[in-house]
């Protein structure tokens, strides 16, 4: 059934947007920086594993671990070198426009390196679960990679929710996002949480890139589209509400699939962004944008 299959495809894409939107929102709460490089980490995961496995001939598990390790180390070093200087130094950089450029520049840097290392062709990490698409409820189809994407989204979402709800460290991370000063007063190292979240975001994005790339394929500039959509979905939560960001990501994914299936595959994205922009203009407060402006 066409609608059902489109909804499933939309749910798969939407869950990626949702996870990235949550990553953007959670990190923004703690660091006050918008992570525009989140999609580029996904691209790095996909193309990195492809490069190590197909070009260098490494075993697949080692290719995955190696790529994730490089992404984690790079994220850590970037925080230590750039973000620490910018945020923790004597001249702390504030203001959304200035801090915007820290990850905007990072995105371009990653794209540039990726172009040199991986070239401009479309590549993908090898499928982790080989086989035809699965048939569900008679005539609904879902790609195996799509099942993995949904599985990763659910697992990471549940783990995050449990961490926040039931551990003191999770509550401390929330506190860092709610009130940086109030968090430091009780001994919470908010800079450390900023660093941890940035590294986890990078690795999680890379994992999603690895798992999803067999469906769509990636080029060195694929990350930008994912980053922008994750950014927009996070904006619908005021960049501060992971719950709203998640919901927005899912809705955008489904809307994109339905527009592509029923209106125009070629202009689906154009229409989608036009609708999103119109919604923001029409009802900013209802969609959470006022809190984004005030943030």
């Amino acid at each position: 059934m066409k609608l059902g299959n489109l909804l499933i495809a939309g749910l798969v894409t939407g869950s990626i947007y949702a996870v990235f939107a949550v990553c953007v929102a959670v990190w923004y709460r703690v660091s006050n920086i918008l992570n525009l490089a989140v999609g580029d980490f996904a691209m790095t995961g996909a193309l990195g594993v492809d490069y190590l496995y197909r070009v260098r001939g490494w075993p697949l598990p080692l290719s995955i671990v190696g790529t994730l390790a490089v992404v984690a180390v790079f994220g850590y070093v970037y925080d230590q070198v750039v973000l620490r200087l910018a945020q923790d130094g004597r001249r702390r950089q504030e203001g959304i426009v200035i801090t915007f450029f820290f990850t905007f520049a990072l995105s371009f840097f990653i794209d540039g390196v990726a172009k040199i290392l991986f070239g401009t062709d479309v590549h993908a990490a090898p499928a982790l679960w080989n086989g035809n698409s699965l048939t569900v409820a008679g005539n609904l189809h879902i790609e195996r990679a799509g099942v993995l994407v949904l599985g990763c989204a659910v697992v990471s979402g549940v783990m995050f929710a449990l961490y926040i709800r039931y551990t003191l460290s999770g509550k401390a991370m929330e506190a860092s996002g709610e009130n940086n000063l109030g968090a430091r007063i009780v001994g919470i190292d908010t800079r450390r949480y900023r660093r941890i979240i940035f590294v986890i975001t990078a690795v999680l994005a890379a994992i999603f890139g690895i798992v999803e790339s067999p469906i769509t394929g990636f080029t060195y500039i694929s990350g930008a589209t994912i980053s922008v959509t994750g950014f927009i979905a996070a904006a619908y939560g005021g960049f501060r509400s992971p719950g709203r960001a998640l919901l927005a990501g899912l809705v955008i994914g489904i809307a994109e699939a339905l527009l592509g299936g029923y209106v125009s595959a070629e202009y689906a994205d154009t229409l989608l962004y036009a609708i999103l922009a119109a919604l923001v203009l029409a009802r900013p407060r209802a969609l959470g944008f006022e809190s984004a402006i005030g943030a």
Binding site: L168, G182, I185, G187
Partner: protein, 209 residues
């Protein structure tokens, strides 16, 4: 110590000592540097000079260090986490000495903090940002106590609070002091603070004596 904000000197010279177990009121008119002294001691703002807590020099501008070394600040305007529950706000006070939520919940410090403010019990699950000013101040003090501090420094505990609520807050602070905690209270209205404090440090034009 001295504290300056850019070219504006808020505290020219504050030189005093506080003995363990004392209750000291830092008093003086508004805008004379009282809060800046407390923030300088706690490490919330940059300072010049030397602050020693239990004999160890406190690094300037490191409020996390002071929190982990026995001095907990209850800041002016509370600085709570508005979307977290009152209970979560309080239990985060335990972060300076444990990462285990179970140990925190079972601790004497947490129990004492809750016991001090029975009015908060029906509101523990409520988001802190939705509580009244008086309730928020109680949460802020309870959070400070959950850290099991040897020194509790409270900045303007009754700012914006009704008289009846202020009385309750000071009764709680008196109990905290009787339990053995060293107390430092910054207060614009000396009458209230001097009912429970044994010493005073007067601040005028950024100079404390």
């Amino acid at each position: 110590m001295s504290v300056a904000y850019g070219h504006v000197v808020a505290v020219h010279d504050a030189t005093f000592s506080i003995g363990e177990g004392e209750a000291v009121a830092i008093i003086g008119p508004n805008g004379n540097g009282k809060s800046s002294i407390l923030m300088g001691i706690a490490g919330l703002v940059a300072r010049r000079g030397d602050v020693r807590i239990f004999g160890t020099g406190a690094p300037p501008r490191n409020v996390m260090w002071t929190a982990r070394h026995g001095l907990t600040l209850v800041p002016e305007r509370r600085q709570l986490y508005p979307n977290l529950s009152a209970a979560d706000n309080i239990i985060l006070g335990c972060y300076s000495w444990t990462r285990s939520v179970h140990k925190a919940r079972a601790s004497d410090a947490y129990a004492f903090a809750l016991d001090l403010f029975p009015d908060l019990r029906p509101h523990l699950r409520q988001a802190a940002g939705t509580l009244s000013g008086g309730q928020q101040q109680m949460v802020a003090i309870a959070r400070g106590l959950a850290a099991a501090p040897r020194i509790l420094a409270v900045d303007e505990p009754c700012l914006g609070l009704a008289e009846v609520v202020s009385k309750r807050v000071y009764e709680a602070l008196a109990r905290v002091h009787s339990a053995g905690t060293t107390l430092i209270v910054v207060e614009e209205v000396p009458r209230r603070a001097l009912e429970i404090c044994t010493r005073r440090v007067e601040v005028r034009n950024g100079i404390a004596a």
